[in-house]
Amino acid sequence: MNQNKNKTKIKEDTILVKLNSSKSRINFSELNKIAQKINIYTELENKWKLKRASEIY
């Protein structure tokens, strides 16, 4: 497949450090679960940052 040929070419250029060539489709349901966790953690961290800033200044 051309796609694989392209990837191999980039690999030959020694800039590619990770390759998931076997993966053909993104699993959005799995990705969504991770994204939701990131959003929760980021919101909590932002609240913590604001609280900390108000205590310092």
């Binding site: 051309n2 796609q3 392209n6 990837k7 070419k9 980039i10 250029d13 020694t14 800039i15 590619l16 450090v17 990770k18 390759l19 998931n20 060539s21 993966k23 053909s24 489709r25 993104i26 699993n27 959005f28 799995e30 990705l31 969504n32 991770i34 994204a35 966790k37 990131i38 959003n39 953690y41 980021t42 961290e45 913590w48 940052k49």
Partner: protein, 189 residues
């Protein structure tokens, strides 16, 4: 997602580099980004990142839990990762110098990471495209805007766009510097 045939053909089996702002926005609005990522997937595009972009995305995570999830997020949909090597520094510097000619003040300077991305786009110009929402960081003096997508995310509208590096534009910029040198020489004589 409706995408013109010409664009679909151009992007067929190409590599799409995701800017940090895309990683952040897509985790916030994954539902709205799903169509766009599905389009890349069905068009046999490889979607990936770069070590410097990984750094930008991970450095905002204060807790270990957030860092772990962000790493998972990156790994789940990255088909490739580009390693910024010292051999690109020369190109990176040249790109930064070209931008400097157009900057009115020092605070308008484009960051090192954005110059590094452009140097990578230059080296893989026929195969690699950048997806970003920070349009000012990839000026059209060196890049081509291939396609702008519009995503209605409720309280905000995002316009991610695909950029490629234009070697002819770089050639013109280099030529312009030569011309300035020649004019200076003539004036001295």
């Amino acid at each position: 997602m409706e995408v013109e045939k010409g664009i679909r053909d151009l992007l067929k089996e190409k590599f799409i580099l995701l800017d940090t702002n895309i990683l952040i926005s897509s985790s916030k609005h994954l539902k709205e980004f799903t169509d766009l990522f599905s389009f890349f997937s069905t068009n046999d595009c490889a979607v990936g990142t770069m070590d410097l972009l990984r750094f930008e995305y991970l450095r905002d995570a204060v807790t270990q839990e957030n860092k772990t999830e962000r790493e998972l997020y990156l790994n789940r949909f990255s088909d490739f990762e580009i390693n910024f090597a010292s051999k690109y520094i020369k190109d990176c510097t040249q790109i930064g110098q070209i931008y400097s000619r157009y900057n009115k003040t020092s605070h308008q300077k484009i960051s090192f990471i954005d110059c590094a991305i452009s140097s990578i786009l230059k080296n893989f110009h026929a195969r690699l495209y950048l997806l970003t929402i920070n349009h000012d960081d990839f000026p059209l003096i060196l890049h081509d805007r291939i396609k702008v997508f519009t995503l209605d995310c409720g309280n905000e509208i995002l316009n991610p766009a695909l950029y490629s590096f234009n070697l002819n534009k770089l050639g013109n910029e280099i030529e312009n510097v030569q011309k300035v040198k020649e004019i200076r020489k003539e004036l001295r004589n």
